[in-house]
């Protein structure tokens, strides 16, 4: 997050202030560091991974990690049941997870913000219809709704991602609507409107930037939810399909090896946990830094 802001500094003072406030939260800094490592790993995946994530070594089934007896240097974290290198699969899994998080969070943000702003500006029947629709989506447990959507569309990574977008949509919509309604009552909006600004300009150019803080926090937490839900769908066999190196999918077939090969079971989960944790920590830090009212 910080390096995005660094490219377009609005004014140096504000940025430094933001960073000081963000860095006060040590957890958030740790989260940012993990995020940095994940981004680096996913960009360099082709360079740093020893093997292809889907290449099967027929002689090397269920080789343990190097620190255990029988480990081999060519497979630092061992191999899975069909002889694929765990480390390479985890590395490519990081790339996939970040892509999933980014696509889902940005699509949900875009759609949700548009819907929320429309509801706030239009009011009346449009507002009622949009918000009732969001209520309906919220009534289903999110994983159940995602499962139903995938059942309709058919299993697969893309459909699973669409399902997670739909499931996370109400959060963004409600947030955008609530903050837009609060801004609409302000004098500067009235002033801009009487100066002749059109509705679209008012929506996206005038009001939206002032609703950005809570939405930015929501995006960071939305990244975490997207990665977690997509992995859960993968685990249930409804998300990415084998041999795709998706962390949740890697776990779905692993249960049968729990007596012989703990690493097949344990490692993908640690990867999910640390990634989700990093985004949650950064989200908390952003909330503290951007919205002092919500502190704690």
């Amino acid at each position: 997050m910080s390096d995005i802001a660094a490219k377009t500094p609005p004014m140096p003072g504000a940025l430094a202030l933001f960073w000081r406030s963000f860095a006060e939260n040590r957890g958030a800094v740790v989260g940012l560091a993990i995020m940095g490592i994940l981004i680096a790993v996913s960009i360099l995946a082709d360079v740093i991974s020893l093997h292809s994530p889907i290449e099967q070594f027929r002689e090397s089934f269920l080789i343990p990690p190097i620190w255990q007896e029988g480990g081999e240097w060519s497979f630092p974290l061992g191999t899975d049941d069909v002889g694929r290198d765990m480390l390479s699969r985890l590395i490519y899994g990081a790339r996939l997870s970040l892509i999933i998080g980014f696509s889902v969070a940005s699509l949900a943000l875009l759609t949700g913000t548009t819907l929320g702003l429309t509801a706030a500006f239009a009011g009346g029947i449009v507002d009622i219809v949009i918000m009732r629709l969001m209520d309906v989506l919220l009534v289903f447990p999110s994983l159940l709704l995602a499962i139903v959507i995938v059942a309709i569309l058919g299993p697969g990574l893309f459909n699973a991602m669409l399902a997670v977008v739909v499931v996370t949509l109400p959060g963004y919509t409600r947030l955008a609507r609530a903050s837009a309604l609060a801004e609409l009552a302000r004098d500067y909006v009235t002033a801009t409107r009487s100066a002749g600004a059109g509705t679209l300009r008012l929506m996206f150019d005038v009001v939206l930037p002032n609703c950005a803080a809570p939405l930015i926090v929501q995006v960071s937490l939305g990244f975490a939810v997207a990665i977690l839900d997509a992995a859960a769908l993968g685990f249930l066999g409804l998300g990415a399909q084998p041999p795709t190196p998706e962390w949740g999918t890697m776990l779905s077939g692993a249960l049968q090896f729990y007596q012989r090969a703990w690493w097949v079971l344990a490692l993908p989960g640690f990867a999910i946990l640390f990634t989700v944790l990093a985004f949650n920590l950064v989200g908390d830090g952003l909330r503290d830094a951007l919205d002092p009212k919500l502190k704690r």
């Binding site: 209520d135 309906v136 289903f140 447990p141 992995a231 859960a232 344990a266 704690r296």
Partner: protein
Amino acid sequence: MVRSMFRFLFRRIALIVPTFIGVTFMAFLLIHLVPGDPIEARVGERGIAPERLAELRHEFGYDLPMWQQFFKYEVQIVKGDLGMSVVTQQSVWHEFITLFPATVELSIAAILFAMLIGLPMGVIAAVRRGSAFDYGLMGMSVTGASMPIFWWGLMMILIFSVTLGITPVSGRISDAFFVEPWSGFMLIDCYWSEDEGACSSAWSHMILPMIVLGTIPLAIIARMTRSSMLEVLNEDYVRTARAKGLSTPRVVIVHALRNALIPVVTVIGLSVSGLLGGAILTETIFSWPGVGHWLVESIARRDYPVLQGGSLLIAVLVIMVNLGVDLLYGFLNPRIRR
């Protein structure tokens, strides 16, 4: 006072009607959007003569315009008919109500576990704000909230069932015991079982799923209790209580905690939806015979009426619980009644 309460009640119930119609519409869409003809799916691989297909389509009303079909479906639901499972040919309602107690038992156990540990931890962290305990708990809390619980369940099995061999891997009770399903809650019914050790078997089956499903609520409750306590501890009435010379435990438990609990209880009530979502994963991992496991299986079997009816029932349940929480909150806190 009574009138405002009634107005509040009425308005909240009126708000449910469109949500309910929307939810049934989603369920209705499910059957019509899944690939394949519902009749052909029911007949299976054997195939069917085109004339017979048309006849059946007419019989089930699939040849009517969509809005008429939806209306028919709505009437059917209000009458309590949720359709039949394609696989077992049993009514969806019957299957749901047979399996539901297992899910309720697991969810109640999980939320009690979460409260039993989360509440005291949150209180201690708030009282000792800034201590190592406080930081440790907050770190654990954000970790718990980030937990992929399907993996967490696998890890618990790996550690406690496989490595240490102290807990069973799946199910609600060992096959060796026969327990008459009286309340549907294994931990209650086992007391009436003739077999020695039925209850300890039921408990040993419950412990891991309970912890796994309770982990995220535990993280949320601990965090919520802490922040709610921190707020209350600064209030005047707490300072007054301290100034009166009351002991710290008395101030914290009697004066502060009681008021801090209101938002916590609301959060617990609203977590029912998340709990049911978590139950889907937990039940799948531990082969727990509840509705979550049943729904996941229904997808593999392409048993869409089950998925449709089951999701609808769960959504209605969540609507009801949310209404209950809202009403309770309005009752406790007159300010939000407006």
